[in-house]
Symmetry: D2
Subunit: 140 residues, 4 copies
Amino acid sequence: MNQIFSKTEKIRFKHVDFAGIVFYPRFLEMFNDLVEDWFEEALDRPFSKIHETNGIPTVDLKVQFKNAARIGELLTKNLWVKELKNSSMVCGFNFINENEKTVLEGEVTLVNVAIAEDRKTIKAEAFNEEVKENIAKYII
Amino acid sequence: MNQIFSKTEKIRFKHVDFAGIVFYPRFLEMFNDLVEDWFEEALDRPFSKIHETNGIPTVDLKVQFKNAARIGELLTKNLWVKELKNSSMVCGFNFINENEKTVLEGEVTLVNVAIAEDRKTIKAEAFNEEVKENIAKYII
Amino acid sequence: MNQIFSKTEKIRFKHVDFAGIVFYPRFLEMFNDLVEDWFEEALDRPFSKIHETNGIPTVDLKVQFKNAARIGELLTKNLWVKELKNSSMVCGFNFINENEKTVLEGEVTLVNVAIAEDRKTIKAEAFNEEVKENIAKYII
Amino acid sequence: MNQIFSKTEKIRFKHVDFAGIVFYPRFLEMFNDLVEDWFEEALDRPFSKIHETNGIPTVDLKVQFKNAARIGELLTKNLWVKELKNSSMVCGFNFINENEKTVLEGEVTLVNVAIAEDRKTIKAEAFNEEVKENIAKYII
């Protein structure tokens, strides 16, 4: 019943290394873009708005890289919610290529934090109810 | 008796995001640099040599981000071996800041692969004996 | 009569620095993406094909950064040809924001090169006629 | 009589592209690191301090890429001042490889700006006298 949030991304020259396959920190930039799109398009919390007072740092990340990806390939990036807590959530994700092969899959824990006015202190803050309801639509 | 491989790295402007803390894909570039230094300085397998015929792709990565890091901080990056197999190994790692706090810690599985001459096929290949002996010095 | 090649790109979290504005090396990644799209969509020379035997290195770059760009802004990236030679071309480009302000503008010289089989030698090679005709449509 | 500010940097796996040569936006990260080191080590204006209230945006950049650089090469990065104005300066720079060949050379205009408290407005601000004196030592 619940949803998966999906976007596509094409592998570009800047993503690949000397072996012609995606350099894995680039995969994590692509994944961060997916989280960013989800917050903007599905949760109504665009990073352009929240990053003055709040942030969504990644505190735990697990990724299995299963198949290489090369320039020109189009990947489907999928994200869903495994567990929603007061101020954090565990999301599952995978990237699938055009041959239906899993390029990578993993799990990430994101925390909602408030940034103090001095921009030096960061502390966990409960998601507000509206955001929580939006996130809940992606629990699988 | 066995060793930990360590390098230091200073947080730079290019590493940090709008919140003033390291954007986590940059941490993984820093970690990749650590593996690269280890292969060159300790294993006698510089990437400048091996990457024409071989590679060391990351197949599994787990990281816990425990404390934020900011511009100007000097991190000590540590790497050791948890398990050495025929053509792969599991390494532990952490980044420690100047206050002895753990910025991140994790575990990575690296595979030794041969790149076919057409540069399209990649397959696992056993580490040679000399490399294996060098790696074994870092088993903890 | 001739054309400008245009694409849009949204400023993302990964692009901006501590000051909340795009870190300029990221602008050059965005520009490289534009060149890549142009080769694929307009010149019928996708990087996924050409990069085994050829490359398009940048030999000269001039950029003026005129207005900052922030997360969430949508930029229009424009590219055209100022001069087409046998194995190189000079392209003009600019990035325009939603308020019609020029974020940056510049000029780049790209050279068509052949990569030798040992992947170590690179030398300039004339564009073939078909590519030349396609490029010529963008001369302004 | 006056000085050149110099640092070395080794080309790493993360810097190179599919052709095995440095992807040029990476060169600009390396250059930004050079400016950052200069501000910290020679001008006594570490980015870790100034970036809460000030910034040094790049407003004009010209680079000629003359020779490719590959993994494992050690480059010497040089910076000097061509012209010092009230709130901006024009710097010359080059990167030289171990065979004394020029990898790249160029010119950059950096502006000293103050960031308003709302972090949205940026405007040019005169360098203070102490910084100006330090910069002046690098005029060539």
